[in-house]
């Protein structure tokens, strides 16, 4: 009997997931469907080599005759989005019959959701402020800051998203609760797909951005008459100090907007949560979508804040279950502090039969998990 096969490629600090799903076509004939979720990696430093995308895309393309059935972009971060555009520029292409993009990528998304639009504009403005502050204080432009800024670079991300948008005749913008139509959004006759996140209105994922005023980094206004000079200086400085907090908040909002979906096939249930962080998990929990799964792609490369707390994890991976369960983390050491997070991986490993990591294979190679039909 044909197996469902999950392949997670070692692309450094990033994701590239390929799922081969036995299915049937309209006439009932057995076929193998190819689902691809994200291809990308961090943009500089360790784990960032782009050339690794070439053998990965080539391998996937060979397996599916150059055309995936469904390509899913989990969220608009370059380390999840840039692989196909890069490979295409080098002459290695992968097409797709269906493409899922997060709802926030829809051209009319911000028209329909003014609150999300305001938040997005605030983020774009804040990113400009951050760049302004880094220009005035270059010592703040650490490698981590450069990673985060590059990853959240709106114009670069747009290029990648445009490429993905063009893969299929008509992309599907997805959110929790959206009806998924066979033929329109996906090809599956047997497997079932369910969206757990994101919310259609992504404004719920944005946190607070501290005030930043880059102009104050280079030129402080004189203390007005009658105002306590030291206090005024402290206030002015505070408006240049929230750079780290800001970029983390912006990065988190994008992560929390991840497409989180399950694929259920012949009794096996797979969960692919992108980089959804705890706020997204809290909202999924409130929406009561969370249920047991047999395969978990560990969120956000194994960071501590993308795996839900124990009470939720117990529902996702119940301890008393007798089913075989596998978790897989796609990650790379020493790129970000405490990622992957060993205590988080320990929490998961006590609930699964195997916890696999892409670090166990060479770059460009894949870790494979099989689920028998």
């Amino acid at each position: 009997m044909a197996d469902l096969v999950v392949r997670a490629y070692n692309v450094g600090f990033g994701d590239a997931i390929h799922v081969e799903v036995p299915d049937r076509d309209r006439s009932g004939k057995e076929v193998r469907r190819h689902l691809v979720v994200d291809i990308g990696n961090v943009l500089s430093g360790r784990g960032s080599e782009d050339d690794v995308f070439l053998p990965v895309v080539k391998d996937i393309a060979e397996r599916c005759d150059g055309r995936a059935d469904l390509y899913v972009l989990s969220h608009e971060h370059l380390d999840h989005a840039q692989g196909l555009l890069y490979a295409s520029a080098k002459g290695v292409d992968l097409a797709a019959d269906h493409v899922w993009l997060p709802a926030s990528a829809a051209p009319d998304s911000y028209e329909k959701h003014p609150a999300a639009r305001r938040k997005r504009l605030a983020v774009l403005e804040q990113l400009e402020h951050i760049r302004g502050l880094l220009a005035a204080a270059p010592e703040l432009a650490t490698p981590q800051m450069r990673h985060l800024l590059a990853n959240n670079n709106a114009s670069s991300t747009q290029d990648c998203v445009e490429h993905l948008r063009g893969l299929a005749r008509r992309p599907s913008y997805v959110w929790r609760g959206r009806r998924l139509r066979r033929g329109m959004d996906h090809p599956f006759h047997e497997a079932r797909l369910q969206l757990w996140a994101p919310e259609e209105d992504t404004s719920v994922y944005y946190g607070r951005l501290p005030p930043l005023a880059p102009a104050l980094a280079s030129k402080r206004p004189p203390t007005p008459a009658g105002v306590d000079g030291r206090a005024f200086g402290r206030l002015v400085r505070s408006w240049t100090e929230g750079v780290g907090d800001s970029i983390l908040a912006i990065d988190k909002a994008a992560n929390n907007s991840s497409v989180v979906f399950t694929l259920t096939w012949r009794g096996w249930r797979l969960l692919v949560p992108g980089d959804a962080e705890l706020r997204s998990w809290q909202i999924m929990d409130r929406r009561k979508v969370i249920g047991p799964v047999d395969f978990l792609k560990v969120g956000h490369h194994g960071s501590h804040n993308a795996t839900p707390p124990d009470d939720v994890l117990d529902r996702l991976l119940p301890r008393e279950s007798k089913r075989r369960r596998v978790a897989l983390v796609s990650t790379h050491e020493k790129v970000y502090n405490a990622v992957p997070h060993p205590p988080t991986l320990d929490r998961i490993s006590t609930r699964v039969d195997e916890l696999l990591t892409t670090q166990d294979v060479a770059p460009g190679e894949a870790v494979e998990v099989r689920f028998p039909g």
């Binding site: 981590q144 985060l148 780290g244 970029i247």
Partner: protein
């Protein structure tokens, strides 16, 4: 020196209320004294508006101070006059102008501060909690639906909400009387109860919000002009939710669609801690508050206090329907308005004075309830009804399980070693007195404690004794197995005789619900990356992160610092 300052007296949306009518002014003059020197800004000794442009970092020109005294005129801050009709009726100021925004926020901050300092309330000049004399006020700190008091910078920062209005005018939180009064109250409370600022217990954080909301609400009700204009004086009932019960109308209406309410928070509520309560408010929101978000939780206590106010206002109204004393007739209010005014004064005073009796550290709603009962009893020994109403409210809202949970003794033992006012004349003397009365104050053996004293200015001295206790830190054991929590006792005594007027210790560390809620709060903070281990407290730019609370493990015990920046004016559902 007397200075006139134009201030916003009402949120813009209220003038659209058909019950109130469009004849009510948005702006009015507030007359202040005793804050000299004055400069353009406005800037005074204790409050300074610095209108920084968050985009450019430039400082906008401040409202001009006109010292009219050389011409024999009242000093004032100059603003552009508003439009007037052919009868000369109109606004005293052009509301949209920069100068009015600056003067209004300045005047409202000072007005709120003065309200606390007046004899019926605290009766003394207040100091800020951040160790400097001057509070900075930034009226346009950025674009978002928020405002906050920040102890670190000694500032109030107000933000603006862009709207979809065709004329594109943002909503300035600095122009909302309620929002400004609320944030000022946070700053005032930080000067009176600084330990509350760093508290992690959800009810303690919520008390900060309750105090700020009640202040802003009761400030409106204590404002005779506003009462005259808004309360139609005949038959208007406070039972239904009036404009007074609804805080920050304009901002709330703008955000209303998202939060399902037409005002940011409604003090006239039935919010409860009873998990078996399945009732809902008029917007369909459950009355049971099971979460730990300070703004949501505060509605339980705010609702209880408003309930007391409402009943007191009705009782006063009934009394005044029999005739208004000549001393009150000059206020030109009917029984309804006068009843509300007098009730607001009493409740506001008891709320403000309760702060002096509140135990230090991690306090609870029940702690505040007892403090209120003591404060109110001291001022109104022969009028117990409001105290009984408060007990009833707190029982009905499941803040306590039994009446006797709120019992406070009628009297306390005398202090040992009291030898006159000099017994508390210095910190060394205070420590000696505390040491002699260790058992009375409930200080555990071997506990190291801190003593803080201050004179209330009403012949009373407050002695706050704080120590740390350890709790199991199950919820955030990854940070440390135990956590250190502040608790203590507050003693209030007559300065001249040493007679103990109150002695209240917190129940927060003994109450399993508070212990559990602290765990929930810490877990939520950690999950949101707002509580970080000190090793992770450095941002990607190499600098300390400003937003999170930092957890430091000292010999297996977690100690926290920072984080009160989270005590914000506006809390939206779903956010902490």
């Amino acid at each position: 020196m007397i200075v006139s300052v134009p201030v916003m007296s009402q949120d813009v949306t209220l003038t659209d209320d058909p019950d109130i009518g469009r004849w009510m002014s948005l702006a009015d003059w507030f007359v202040m004294k005793g804050e000299e020197p004055y400069y353009d800004g406005p800037v005074s000794r204790r409050v300074a508006v610095v209108d920084l442009d968050h985009r450019t970092g430039a400082l906008r020109p401040g409202a001009r101070f006109d010292d009219g005294r050389p011409r024999g005129e009242t000093s004032k801050y100059v603003v552009e006059e508003g439009d007037r009709d052919e009868w000369g009726v109109g606004e005293i100021a052009r509301i949209e102008a920069d100068a009015f925004l600056q003067t209004s926020v300045f005047g409202t901050v000072v007005k709120t501060l003065k309200m606390f300092e007046r004899a019926p309330m605290l009766g003394r000049r207040l100091t800020w909690g951040f160790g400097r004399e001057q509070l900075l006020v930034v009226p346009r700190a950025g674009d978002m639906a928020n405002a906050f008091y920040d102890r670190d910078t000694g500032s109030l920062q107000f933000f603006s909400v862009p709207t979809e209005d065709p004329d594109g005018r943002p909503i300035h939180t600095a122009l909302s009387h309620d929002v400004v009064a609320h944030e000022t109250a946070h700053a005032v409370l930080d000067g009176i109860c600084p330990e509350l600022y760093d508290a992690i217990t959800p009810q303690a954080r919520a008390l900060h919000e309750t105090f700020a909301d009640v202040t802003s609400l009761l400030a409106s009700l204590g404002d005779v002009y506003r009462l005259r204009m808004e309360l139609d004086l005949e038959g208007r009932s406070l039972r239904s939710s009036t404009t007074f019960g609804r805080l920050a109308e304009q901002l709330g209406q703008h955000l209303g669609a998202a939060v399902g309410a037409d005002a940011l928070r409604d003090a006239n509520n039935a919010c409860t801690l009873d998990p078996d309560d399945n009732s809902h408010d008029r917007h369909g929101r459950p009355n049971f508050v099971g979460g730990i978000a300070a703004h949501d939780l505060s509605m339980v206590m705010t609702g209880a206090i408003y309930g007391v106010f409402r009943r007191l206002a009705q009782a006063e109204r009934k009394r005044l329907e029999g005739g208004i004393p000549r001393s009150l007739a000059k206020l030109e209010l009917g029984p309804v308005g006068l009843g509300a005014h007098l009730a607001a004064q009493r409740v506001a005073r008891s709320v403000a004075r309760a702060r002096a009796h509140l135990p230090p550290g991690e306090t609870s709603f029940a702690d505040f309830g007892r403090a209120f009962l003591v404060a109110d009893r001291l001022d109104h020994p022969r009028s117990p009804e409001p105290r009984e109403w408060l007990v009833g409210e707190l029982l009905a809202r499941a803040v306590v399980e039994r009446r006797d949970d709120l019992d406070v003794p009628a009297s306390w033992p005398d202090l040992e070693g009291w030898d006159g006012p000099s017994a508390l004349s210095s910190s060394a003397e205070a420590r000696r007195l505390v040491s002699r009365n260790r058992a009375l104050l409930g200080i555990p053996d071997k506990a190291r404690y801190a003593v803080r004293t201050y004179d209330t200015g009403r012949g009373q001295v407050v002695v706050r004794v704080t120590w740390q206790v350890k709790e199991d830190n199950a919820a955030t054991r990854d940070l440390a197995p135990e956590r250190s929590v502040a608790t203590g006792t507050t003693l209030v005594a007559e300065t001249s005789t040493g007679r103990v007027l109150s002695l209240l210790a917190s129940d927060s560390t003994a109450d399993p619900r508070q212990v559990a809620d602290r765990g929930r709060m810490l877990r939520w903070l950690a999950d949101e990356d707002l509580l970080v281990d000190e090793r992770d407290a450095v941002g990607p730019d190499g600098r300390p992160l400003r937003e999170p609370i930092v957890a430091r493990a000292v010999r297996g015990t977690m100690r926290l610092s920072g984080g009160a920046r989270m005590v914000h004016c506006i809390g939206l559902p779903g956010l902490g």
